[in-house]
Amino acid sequence: MLSQIVSALGVVVVAVFACSAYFYFSNKILDLALPVKDGDIRSAARNLNRRAMIRPWLFLGPALFLLVVYLVYPVVATFILSFYDRSGEQFVGFANYQWAFSDREFRQSIFNNILWLAVVPAACTFFGLVIAVMTDRIWWGNIAKSIVFMPMAISFVGASVIWKFIYEFRGGNDTQIGLLNAIVQLFGGTPQVWISVPFWNNFFLMVILIWIQTGFAMVILSAALRGIPEETIEAAVIDGANGWQIFWRIMVPQVWGTIAVVWTTITILVLKVFDIVLTMTNGQWNSMVLANLMFNWMFRGGGDSGRSAVIALIIMLAVTPIMVWNVRRANRELGGH
């Protein structure tokens, strides 16, 4: 065991060191290749300017390399595959696209995804905001924050297990071991098989993601809220606004930009996350979403690379407007410099 630890440690150190070494030595070499001598200011300036032209690419190199190989290349490959049949060998034109839009399951997934997109980012942001605001104002706020953040540390699969315990249904007269049903029963309701109620089961699944991601929203928004000038709140207090009004009319509008960032991040997550649906329902009872549909077409029973490629592309397409907006924002920020 000890030797394993030692060798693991060694590997870790070497890896991190090698990465640092790249940056260190590539810059060193650049400096050596284009020397700057004290004497001649003209040639020194020329070399410095050349360095300035090359150096960004040294900095960006590894990131670009990884992005291109690991993300751009698969995207391109996927795009090409989307015009081929299931084995990726026979060109079929737009057949896969045609199929997608006529497939019931696909339409169902789109519908469900829209539901998810409408609910989860909003809910996470809302709860995150409320918790951030409120915990800033009580002495045990940090404890509360930690608890809300905790689900972030749980894997999606683990989280699904946790929630299975909440939604668990026992038929007949058995004691309910699912908390939700136990509570429903306590109040005289009839226990339900929550995750199999079409349409509504989407929401029960969403709750899980909301439970996990609210911590993220909370952390970021709480930081943003601290950036709000105290004086604007004091001014509102003098203007006679109550806590509720201050929250909605003074604080929220001022962190609007951050809300947008959080919203975007969670939106993307919603489109990409599929573990929850996989473990909870695997898309049954009309709870299929695009990511799972893609997964199914990609791997289930040998896979169909063409159709899964179409779905993957559609997921990406769905986020494009949000991304365009984000890129614009990023560039606008840049202009401010």
Partner: protein
């Protein structure tokens, strides 16, 4: 404190805040709490009663077997098999018993049940029983089933954790997980920070385009890239006559998959650093490399820490990427994989799922609490800038 910070403290509003936060905290805690308690319960009980009843004593009706005829003793005219149905279960007591499964509580403890044919049975609340017959017990009378209602005090067990923690190769896979996770957390941060710096503070053609590319790539679904990449790995592996599934491979994979978000978040922060500080350093003669290492890196530590938490959580909890790029053999199996293997071939054993959910959560939580201070500060500048 200024008033704005505690304006909620005025009157009932303050109570309301405490109340709301308490409700939210409880709502958020309940699922985790439930699973934590469940992980401490007996695996058979787990599926028959709610975890919230774990603290209350419960009553269960179970089947038990009486002794074999070879234990019988003759007492006068009656033959007796004596024993205890609660063998090895301290602290419990019998409420009632029965001999037919349809009426398992027909007799209360201490009562002698007449079972006809000269057979009778007495079960006391302490579990001792006397099984009596007015003739010798034959071989057919052996191991008769009786049903007893047992009052059980709350009980917890560490067995589930023992199973998980002593599972074969858990230690190894723990180390494997760390071997994967630590570089896969640090390397992307380093690379992304350099890139983010270049994208915020260095002038070069195509910068805006690159930013667009990075932001755009955040959306690429991970599953999509697995097969093309693995193919690439195999080609490269074959070319260098090296195995295609290596730590290096998975580090790079995790690094790349985390890269867009890392650059996106770090750039927001780094771009928000005061321009004058960087210009000062430039006037002081520092090259971009020196500015980055000596000024930007220390100043962005909070942002780096917060991203580190996200990346760490993601890598630590990942199973898919590890399986694809590192493989599932013992030497390379990560913790999530090892715990997964403890589950039977046909899927979830609740007790293992619950206990392992807690085992995996520990390290991320430690990391979270360790870096928490920086977390809030870290995203501050980034988010304010964004806003």
């Amino acid at each position: 404190m200024t008033l704005a910070r505690d304006f909620f403290k005025i009157g009932p509003a303050r109570l309301f805040v405490h109340f709301v936060v308490l409700v939210i905290v409880i709502l958020w805690l309940i699922p985790t709490l439930g699973i934590f308690i469940s992980s401490l319960r007996d695996k058979d009980q787990l599926v028959v009663s709610g975890w919230w009843t774990a603290f209350a004593g419960s009553s269960r009706t179970v089947a038990s077997r009486l002794g074999q005829p070879d234990q019988q003793k003759q007492e006068g005219a009656t033959y007796v098999i004596a024993g205890n149905v609660l063998e090895g279960q301290e602290g419990r007591s019998i409420r009632a018993f029965g001999t037919r499964v349809q009426q398992p509580a027909a007799y209360s403890a201490g009562e002698t049940a007449d079972l006809g044919d000269g057979v009778s049975l007495l079960v006391n609340s302490d579990g001792t029983y006397r099984y009596m017959k007015n003739a010798p017990f034959g071989p057919d009378d052996g191991g008769r089933r009786v049903y007893v209602s047992i009052a059980t005090p709350p009980e917890f067990t560490m067995q589930n954790y023992r199973t998980v923690l002593t599972g074969e190769g858990i230690g190894q896979s723990f180390i494997n997980s760390l071997t994967v996770t630590i570089p896969a957390t640090i390397i992307p941060i380093l690379i992304a920070a350099f890139a983010a710096y270049a994208l915020s503070w260095m002038e070069f053609p195509g910068r805006a385009l690159l930013i667009a590319l990075v932001v755009g790539l955040i959306v690429v679904p991970l599953q999509m890239s697995l097969i093309p990449l693995l193919r690439l790995y195999n080609t490269v592996g074959a070319a260098f006559d090296a195995p295609s599934k290596t730590y290096l491979g998975i580090w790079l994979a995790h690094t790349a998959f985390g890269m867009p978000l890392a650059i996106y978040l770090l750039r927001a922060y780094i771009a928000g650093l005061p321009k004058e500080i960087i210009e000062s350093a430039r006037v002081d003669g520092a090259s971009d490399f020196e500015i980055f290492v000596r000024i930007v890196l220390p100043l962005s530590f909070p942002a780096l820490a917060s991203f580190a938490i996200f990346q760490f959580l993601w890598v630590w909890n990942d199973l898919l990427v590890a399986m694809v790029f590192l493989g599932t053999d013992r030497q390379h199996l990560v913790l999530t994989g090892a715990l997964n293997a403890l589950l039977g071939s046909r899927g979830g054993n609740w007790e293992i799922l619950t206990a392992s959910a807690f085992v995996t959560i520990i390290v991320p939580l430690l990391v979270f609490f360790g870096l928490q201070r920086y977390l809030v500060r870290g995203l501050l500048a980034g988010s304010v800038k964004g806003g």
